[in-house]
Each structure stands twice: as C-alpha cells, then as structure tokens.
Symmetry: C2
Subunit: 223 residues, 2 copies
DNA sequence: CAAGCACTCTAGTATTCAATTGATTACTTG
DNA sequence: CAAGTAATCAATTGAATACTAGAGTGCTTG
C-alpha cells in the first residue's frame, strides 16, 4: 500500500462521518436525539418523515457510529452514541453562526430580533440557579424534561404555558430554556411571558449544551 | 412561515456545512490547509487531483465558509477560515477514533502497531519543551514549518532525515511531530531514528492541534 | 499588447444519494 | 400459532454530486 492509497482509505473512512451530517434531516435527528432517546415512529412524527425514510437515515447515522440503538420488544430506541457526536453537531452549529447572513435571516424571519430577549449564558445561570427569586423553566415536551433537565428546573411545555401561567409568581425572574440555541420554544415562552408582564429571559443554549459542558443535571420527576 | 418550514430552512443551511465535509478530498484539504496556506496547483499536486477538480472542491469549502482565499497576482492562496473550521475537522477525527475497527485497521496496515512508538501528549511535551536533553523535530515539508511550528523546534523533513542524521546528537531524546495524529511522517521518522539507536517518540497530535489549543507557536526562520 | 499562466467556469457523463412504495422480518400478545 | 405492530429491507425514481475536458477570465510579463 502506497502513501496515496493509505490516505485515500483513511480520508474515505472519515468522510463516512462527514456524509452522515450532510443531510438536513439527519442533523435534526442529532438535535432531537441529544434530548432523549426516541423510537423510530416518534422521530418520524416529530420530523414529518415516513417511518421507512426515518429508519434509513438512522441506519446511516448508526453506520457512522453517531447514534446507538437499544431494542426493547417491538421498539428500537435510538440515542446519541456519546458526547463526541454532540460535539460534532456543536461544531457545525458554531460554524453556522459565521454564516450569519443566511441563518440569521432565517431565524429573524421566524422569530424577529432575538437580541431583545436578553439571553443569559451558562456560567451566569449556574451562579444564580439557587436564587430564590429565579425560576428556571424547561419548556420542552415532557419526555425530554424527564430524560434530564437543569437542576431545580420546572417543566411547563410551551404549548401549556398560557393555560398554566397561574403557577408562576410575577415577582420572580424566569429563565426559560429548550433544546438548543436554534430551538424556538424558549423564545416563544419568553415572548409570551414578557407580554404578560413577567420578567423573563432565555438561556442562550439548551439542555444538551449544559450537559456536555459537564454542568450538573437532574433526572426523573415532574415538578 | 410555519414551524416545519422554519426548521427545514434552518437545517438545510447547517447541512451545507455538513455537505462540505462529506468528501474525502475536501477533508484532506482541510488537514493540509490547517498547516499553511496553499495555492490551487500545490493542493492539486499534493492530493493528485486535477487543478480544475481541486478548484471546484475549494469553491464548495469556500461556500460553506470553511476556507477563505487571498488573491495575489495569478495565484489564489487558500487557508482555513478560522479555528472553528479546524475544530470541525477535529470533531470528525475524534469520532473516527471510535470507529477503531476500520481506521485502526487501515493505520496498522500501513504503519504497524503505533503504540510501540510511545506518543507524548501536548501538556507533557509543553512541560519538557525547554529541556536541554530534548529535541523537538518538525518533520513536515519546509513551507509548513515556515508557516508556524512548535517553539524551538528544528526542521528536518522526513525525506531528508536519513541523510541529515549527523545533525542530531545521540544523547538527546527526540520528539517528532507532523501534521496530525493520522499523518505518517512522524511515525516514519521515529521508526528510522529508533532503528539507528536514537531515543525517539512522536507527539500524539500535530502542529494545528497544538496551535488551536492556544499553546505558544513560533513563525519564520529555519533552524 | 501579445503571450503565458493560474484559476475558474461550463457541459457532459457516470455515479451516488434521497425519498417512495411495497414487501419482509422480528417481536408481542391474544 | 395467528394476528398485529414496529422496524427494516429492496427496488425504483428523480435529484444531486464528482470528475473530466475544454473554453474562458484576469493578471503578469516580456
């Protein structure tokens, strides 16, 4: 084997990982799988793909060792293989921030200007997480909250927030978070809360970023 | 714009970055561009692609904002856009290590068992880099050494090493490094040096990893 | 300003990939 | 063990991508 054949074989192997993240649907899968484990039907429903198509994308992610699967009866539960897989998605996201032109245009077209929401970063939030006058609010769907959440966070999925406003004290500051920096749930929650007179901000990132940074997490139990 | 259209547009944008790293040749380009800036002909020669083909791959990397270009007369000099681009390649490489089965098989088929070469990590090397009885040896091609190297490193490209053994003192320990963990130059150097009775090891990573970790680097000048 | 050079673009072809459809497998439960 | 369900596989279609060859662009130099 010559130098060239060696390099070709090596880079071809790495490119299998690259190919795995070359599809929009597979990137969305990674973002979802970072929240909790999902079975194929759930993922297909969440992303509006057919089950067969979702399954095939999952095979590709699995072949690249980005996700792993656990079988339980009829169900196949997929999850991220490890932190490295999430770091790859993080690296792509961070590069996306450079592409401000396109991505910011897309985000703003949907959300308006997010800077007004005064995002709070992880370390600042960590420092204040025990404060009595601060409520950390997990606005993701309940299964994702159950699979892991910020310490002391309360769960109110964004769709139920309006109906459950009574559970929140107007004298407390609220920090909402969701799946990640490009997830809109927390933005929608902050917008609603602010309109109703609450002092609300969003955590700049999401639960998986918090977790992969090695910060403390809580599991189980609805508050 | 509905939730789904928003997400589709967003992930499609991120997938452009994923697609850019879905090709073996483009990954090799990233590895090379992390060493120094190259013009199109040089890259095409190094990777044995046609100039037109290399140019097209570079356009794709540029569109994904992974590389930037500087024009000087007839020449177009390409370089990595920033550290984030290298971190993406790092993330892919680290995931590759999980795929031990295939990649290790490829590496071993070419290099034999590398564990015998006793790699030294960055922090250990940093601690000993001033030692009188330690020589840090950059075995990459000279232009890459000139574009930046470890502090105090001496440049002997691996192809010239055998002829220039007289420049090395047998009583000094030698740490060789090259482009990165999957570059073979340092392995070949260590193999040659060990066979000739020198005490030689390889740095576990490469110059770009050292640099992106924020460790000190030197530029210019051949020693 | 003509010739040479580095690079890029355009077309054309071969290949690979994505999504759909329908069939099949693997497991569970009555 | 038959029926039902979740997931996967196989085959097909159309779209996207990779590579080549040749033309074209823009800069430099005699």
């Amino acid at each position: 084997m010559g130098h060239r054949e060696f390099k070709d074989a090596l880079y071809a192997e790495f490119a299998r990982i690259g190919k795995a993240v070359a599809s929009p649907h597979r990137l969305e899968f990674l973002d979802l799988l970072a929240q909790r484990e999902w079975n194929v039907e759930e993922l297909a429903g969440e992303t509006q793909l057919t089950v067969a198509n979702a399954s095939q994308h999952l095979q590709i992610l699995r072949a690249a060792k980005l996700v792993s699967v656990r079988r339980d009866g009829n169900y196949a539960y997929y999850r991220l293989a490890d932190d490295r897989a999430y770091r790859l998605w993080q690296a792509i996201r961070e590069l996306g921030e450079v592409r401000l032109a396109e991505i910011d245009r897309i985000v703003r077209a949907f959300l308006g200007n997010r800077d007004e929401l005064e995002p709070i970063d992880a370390l600042t939030l960590l420092g204040r997480i025990q404060d009595e006058d601060l409520v950390v609010l997990d606005v993701r769907p309940i299964p994702e909250y159950q699979a892991g959440h910020l310490p002391g966070a309360r769960s109110i999925p964004v769709g139920e927030l309006e109906a459950r406003l009574g559970e929140l004290r107007p004298d407390q500051e609220i920090v909402a978070y969701c799946r990640g920096p490009y997830c809109v749930y927390a933005d929608e929650a902050v917008e609603l809360l602010t309109a109703r007179g609450y002092l609300a901000r969003r955590f700049s990132h999401g639960f998986p970023d918090w977790q992969v940074a090695g910060l403390p997490v809580e599991r189980e139990g609805i508050s």
